[in-house]
Assembly symmetry: none
Homo-oligomer: 211 residues x 4
DNA sequence: TGCTAAGCGAGACGGTACGTCGCGTCTTCGG
DNA sequence: CCGAAGACGCGACGTACCGTCTCGCTTAGCA
């Protein structure tokens, strides 16, 4: 047995994989400029200097393409390894805030997909797997780290707790339409998330906003 | 007594107000069946046995119509008056849960509007005023009632806190796609919201539904 | 019984029949400028200030539209009544040449349809009925007029004979690509058609070209 | 012996000239089945078991390929040498009819090219040279042979006359859509062409097919 | 009672995005 | 270097939906 996969040795000209990234970048740019709804497949293709067929060969649907576009970003690969252990949950979160290049774009692009999710299970699972889960998983990892330190309340449900930041951020961007300024992020972290996890009240005396 | 408004005394056939409710019901049905994106003004009109002009005479936009459709429901008018004062925040929330006829429909319809909000300020404020604010306001009223009882932590930000339940519910329905079962609502209330507001950990001794 | 037709009393906004002519004119203009192949439905619609749907509502196919476009012209309605009886076949043809506003456009548009005819029977019969037959019928009527005068040979097949001018004109425009100059038309008439019909040789002594 | 041309001695694998004929045959088959418009280069290549590049290496355009396809047939090489001198024009034409393997296919393929001719001069001249001229030239040669015999009218224009059969055949196949049955060919020859050339009426005593 | 203006169902209108398909070129691989 | 396969840029196709406009009718309220 030569190869472990049964792929039948692709014939013909292979996909130009460099076009993938260029098209996804064009998609991100269009979405950033015009929003999901007003983003056109033709415009994405034109911006990437590609034909529409080249786009549709890769993604059969605008939604699929957008998922790839917004999940293939640097900070999508944000893992617990890149968050230094500062010795406390509140410190770790502060470190996380400094790392994150404010991924508003991801959430705003998600806005356009939300209406499709209930009727497109594959799309929903892709969104979940690529966009939602990584963020929740990272928070959960921080909670587990804090748990090892003994910072957490005994009986708290980590799975539920880990969704709180994503929920609050999504709500602020998608529903109430306010920006993700750092005041909000600090407040979310130190007045909501940490007290909830540790059972200790927020340290209100401390000046808000590291940045 | 003349009319108090300067309306120039409408001539001609008056609008048939009974059509409003029928159209809104048709809109709700279509949205429930097909989702916001796939709902067509023509389909709503046809389902209501009306012409498109009859619909557009009342709402200039699909989004506006949908807002009316989903905000004109019984539990949209839920106010603090209808929540009995049970003597504790956790009890009040339990009463609220019993009152609420699970307004999933409202949130799912909201899903379709989310993508338009960043580009349609009027729509955004309508959504905010009609859908979001009433729910947040109700929660805030419950918090104020609890505050008078002395249940709350001194320095908690009521405005931020009051958005937590809406945020968690929106996230569950719109983003993670899970249903609003009562286990979740109990957990949200008693493991997240109440501890956050009062600073006291969840009453873990009490059975929390199935889990 | 009220009306003789069973038409069910058309509902809704009636077609704006004035758009028909404007679209057909736009189609003729586009075809004249760019040729049949390069004429686009979108371009025709845009030139007519119409939407594509308005065009497709009337003609489901480019070919159908073009047939209408080229058959709804003034000289399409050319009948024997408008050809004065000059007393001889050759004179009648001369009168015909003066009447005809050189319908090259019709034939050139036909060029684009020719490739579809063998596979589209409806199209073929439309082309035949609207474009070909009227021209052949006119010539045949002139032949019959000449026959009453006793100009014709006894045994000539009028049906076949009547197709000769159309065939020669089509061949010149579509196949050999030469223009329909008046020398050719005179020669066709006086060296080919009249001798063929009457059995008398062309009158070569006479100077060619009335015009 | 070196090559007589200055071609720089082609390197590498020589072109497989057997593919030419296979591709042209595939092209003819496709055109016969689907018509020129609906014939696809990809389909021709696939039918020939070839890649599109193999096709385009030989002909830069669908039209060019089709011209080759339809001009590389046996009776395309029909010359005056193969028409026995029967002693009369009408006899020579009868001999020609017996030789010709009814080249309907050529004319039907031409149908698809007609629409391109006005905008593609090279294509037009190729069509003219390869398809039209040989047929006209053959007829003209027969006319010249008849002229030597003294059969023709003195002042007839041979160039114009020689196009009549092609024009009538093209018209019948491309425009009126009727088949090239032998009745028509006989009538064309003996009631139209010969009388026109010789000035003598058709020999009506002889039975003309069915009619 | 009849007039009049606006409401009504129906559907045509100008736009615009969609996803598909064909053309003619280009790029990879194996022979 | 050829040949098979197929990706590429381009752009037309025909469909669907949006929000507006227009048709002929119905229906209230005023005269």
């Amino acid at each position: 047995m030569t190869t472990q996969t049964m792929e039948p040795r692709r014939l013909g000209r292979p996909r130009d994989t460099s076009r993938d990234a260029e098209i996804l970048q064009a998609a991100r740019d269009e979405i950033a400029e015009r929003g999901y709804e007003r983003t056109t497949m033709a415009a994405v293709a034109a911006r990437a200097g590609a034909g529409k067929a080249t786009v549709y060969r890769r993604w059969t649907t605008k939604a699929e393409m957008v998922i790839d576009a917004i999940s293939c970003t640097a900070d999508a690969a944000l893992t617990i390894d890149r968050i230094p252990d500062t010795g406390s949950l509140v410190g770790d979160l502060r470190a996380l805030r400094e790392l994150k290049h404010h991924d508003e774009g991801v959430w705003l692009a998600l806005a356009g997909l939300v209406s499709e999710l209930p009727h497109a299970p594959e799309l929903a699972s892709a969104v979940h797997e690529r966009l939602v889960r990584p963020r929740v998983r990272l928070v959960r990892a921080l909670l587990e780290r804090a748990s090892l330190r003994g910072e957490l309340l005994r009986d708290v449900d980590l799975d539920l707790l880990a969704t709180v930041p994503s929920a609050m951020i999504a709500y602020r961007l998608l529903v109430s339409g306010e920006p993700l300024d750092s005041d909000f992020l600090v407040q979310l972290s130190e007045e909501v998330f940490v007290p909830l996890a540790t059972g200790r009240p927020a340290r209100v005396a401390e000046p808000l906003g590291v940045l």
